[in-house]
């Protein structure tokens, strides 16, 4: 199939301002189907804002973003079509507290994809098994640990059977002993061939899983390359400085 080599996300010269603050200064990045990209950089560098422009949670004001052949414009139908193909996992989980785990996962498949309740629940059960918490289906989010909540959030995003998964610092809000269980799920997902863009400071994960690492600073892509290149032979001083600060 030709989609194996297709460029599934194409960003060209993407700019974004918050009022007068120029937070994205001409980001160009192309992602191939099945590629796992780790985005890292200091806080305020625009990395979260950038991945949020990909599913239009933030609007970009200049440049083009094309996802799976559809250009992101103000056209609501395009936005809806693209959001169905992109799953997103947030730093603060953002599970729906008034719905059970099962309802959290089946809501979008039933109401956006219009799949039957049986089919959606079957998918949800399979996904809960895949993320290692099949027994929690009928609990409410508040009854789960942080690590379990984030795994439910991953299952919820996967239930839409998206082509792309975005992770916005998925382990930053977790207690240290729960980070591994979430990273394990993400590693398994990456191995299964999912296209992923991950904003994270988990450098162990990046080293093991990423195909490419992208370093953001000051709203620009400073440097990108394989984990090998980035860790062994960073080209820019800013990359070196940042890595030395977080790797000790």
């Amino acid at each position: 199939m030709s989609s194996d080599v297709k460029d599934i996300i194409i960003c060209k010269d993407v700019h974004k301002w918050f009022d007068r603050l120029h937070v994205l200064k001409g980001i160009s990045l192309t992602v191939k189907t099945g590629e796992v990209i780790v985005v890292f950089g200091p806080s305020g560098s625009g990395k979260s804002t950038f991945i949020r422009t990909i599913n239009r949670l933030e609007e970009h004001q200049r440049g083009t973003i094309i996802v799976d052949g559809i250009e992101l414009t103000n056209d609501i139908r395009n936005i809806a079509a693209i959001r169905q193909e992109i799953g997103m996992v947030f730093q603060s989980f953002n599970l729906f507290p008034h719905l059970t785990v099962m309802q959290n996962i089946t809501l979008a498949p039933m109401w956006v994809r219009h799949w039957s309740q049986e089919k959606s629940e079957q998918i949800a059960h399979d996904l809960l098994k895949r993320v290692g918490i099949p027994e929690q289906a009928d609990k409410f989010p508040a009854q789960l640990s942080g690590g379990q909540q984030q795994r439910v959030a991953i299952a919820r995003a996967l239930a839409m059977q998206p082509k792309i998964m975005l992770f916005d610092e998925p382990t930053s809000a977790l207690d240290p002993e729960m980070i591994k269980e979430v990273l394990d799920v993400m590693t398994e997902l990456a191995k299964s061939g999912m296209t992923m863009i991950v904003v994270t400071h988990e450098m162990g994960f990046a080293r093991n899983v990423a195909d490419r690492m992208v370093f953001f600073d000051g709203g620009e892509i400073i440097e990108q390359g394989t984990p090998e290149q980035i860790f062994k032979n960073p080209q820019h001083d800013r990359t070196k400085l940042f890595l030395s600060q977080i790797l000790h």
């Binding site: 949670l57 599970l95 729906f96 008034h98």
Partner: protein, 396 residues
């Protein structure tokens, strides 16, 4: 062998009645003095009240006018329709008590106790038969409800249907011999108070939600209309709105169409409450974290679905206490309808007092009316607390 620490009981002075009294009322000499002062104050207020209530009060003003207090000028030979409405409500409460359990079951129990108590009071007439019939229906509904566990949605629908059935039953049809038309101008007493409150609550709830959503809309026309409506209505006293609907509503209606006073009053209460409702709901809407909406959008839900499934359920849950207290004040504000010549509970009270044989019995009448309002307001407030606990308000 000495007693092990595990089996050691608490010191006898810290448990039981004596322990409680000592801990809460007489923990220090200052608290003891406060306790004694309070006891003296309570005694000096309550004892004359009780002595009055049981010796010198002339409750005959209530018992002899009980039908008026309950139904006002509703034709006496048609009062069976009001009783039938009560039977419907009892049946619904009985069924709901076993289907839903929880607070509704508590209410069902109270209702049964209330029927029994009233039936035992010496009122005479066929009221006692109807009360016992209601009690029987309540119990029968409860027993039937045990087999309807799977029909929860239908029971909710039945409540809605019974609401409209009630209106039809009370109003009747013109020309009918079985259910002759009884215009709302002949409704009165507690019946009218209830109808004003229930209709206004049922209508203002959705209207208020729509206004709250409208106020946050991105469409300027809807937003401006909602803001104007909410601010205008909130800036005007309820009494003014009552008078205005009496005079102005007919101006908006087509020629020849007549709307009677009760419907106009219902419109006033509904429009007034909807504005406050909208502001309460807006408070809840604002408290929803942005992450909730983003997560729902990222899943591909459109704005309508996000509002329906994610925002509103959480927002309404948060503002249950505010909404219930709004409904309680609406229930009590229905007494204002008396100034536009409606004979609701307070209006009936005043007309009863105008009769020569009951002159000077204001205290009895107003205490009675206050007691009725208290019972129902407290029931609503109680339901609100139970609902909050059941839905886990304040827990995330």
């Amino acid at each position: 062998m000495a007693t092990s620490v595990d089996t050691l009981g608490p010191p006898s002075t810290s448990v039981g009645v004596i322990g409680w009294l000592r801990k809460n009322l007489f923990s220090s000499w200052f608290n003891s003095i406060l306790t004694i002062i309070c006891l003296v104050l309570i005694y000096s207020v309550v004892s004359p009240l009780l002595i009055w209530a049981f010796t010198s009060a002339r409750w005959t003003v209530i018992t002899e006018n009980l039908r008026l207090f309950m139904t006002g000028p509703y034709p006496p030979d048609q009062v069976w329709r009001v009783w039938l409405v009560l039977v419907i409500v009892s049946a619904m409460f009985g069924i709901s008590a076993s289907v839903f359990g929880g607070t509704i079951r508590t209410f069902g129990t109270w209702l049964a106790a209330g029927y029994l108590l009233l039936a035992l009071l010496p009122f005479g007439g066929d009221g006692r038969v109807w009360l016992l019939a209601n009690l029987a229906i309540l119990v029968a509904g409860f027993l039937a409800g045990t087999r309807l566990q799977k029909w929860r949605a239908w029971v909710v629908a039945a409540w809605l249907v019974s609401f409209f059935a009630t209106l039809v039953l009370l109003q009747g049809f013109s020309g009918s011999t079985v259910l002759p038309e009884i215009g709302t101008n002949q409704w009165g007493g507690l019946l009218l108070t209830f109808m004003l409150a229930v209709v206004s609550i049922v209508l203002s709830f959705p209207l208020g939600i729509l206004l709250a959503l409208g106020r946050r809309s991105h469409l300027p026309a809807i937003k401006i209309f909602s803001i104007l409506y909410i601010e205008l209505v909130r800036g005007v006293p309820l009494v003014t709105i009552l008078f205005m609907t009496q005079i102005m509503l007919p101006l908006f209606l087509p020629q020849g169409m007549r709307v009677d006073n009760v419907v106009r009053a219902m419109a006033a209460f509904t429009l007034f409450t909807a504005a406050y409702m909208a502001e309460n709901v807006r408070g809840g809407l604002q408290a929803i974290p942005g992450g909730q909406i983003e997560a729902a959008q990222a899943l591909g839900l459109n704005n309508a679905l996000v509002t329906l499934f994610i925002v509103l359920p959480q927002a309404l849950r948060m503002v249950i206490p505010a909404i219930v207290s709004l409904f309680i004040s609406l229930f009590k504000d229905t007494t204002l309808a008396t100034i536009v010549a409606l004979l609701e509970l307070l209006g009936v009270g005043r007309s009863v007092l105008a009769q020569p044989e009951f002159l000077g019995l204001q205290t009895e009448v107003y205490v009675f009316i206050a007691a009725i309002f208290f019972v129902f307001s407290y029931a609503m407030s109680f339901a609100s607390y139970r609902l909050e606990a059941a839905l886990g308000v304040g827990k995330r």
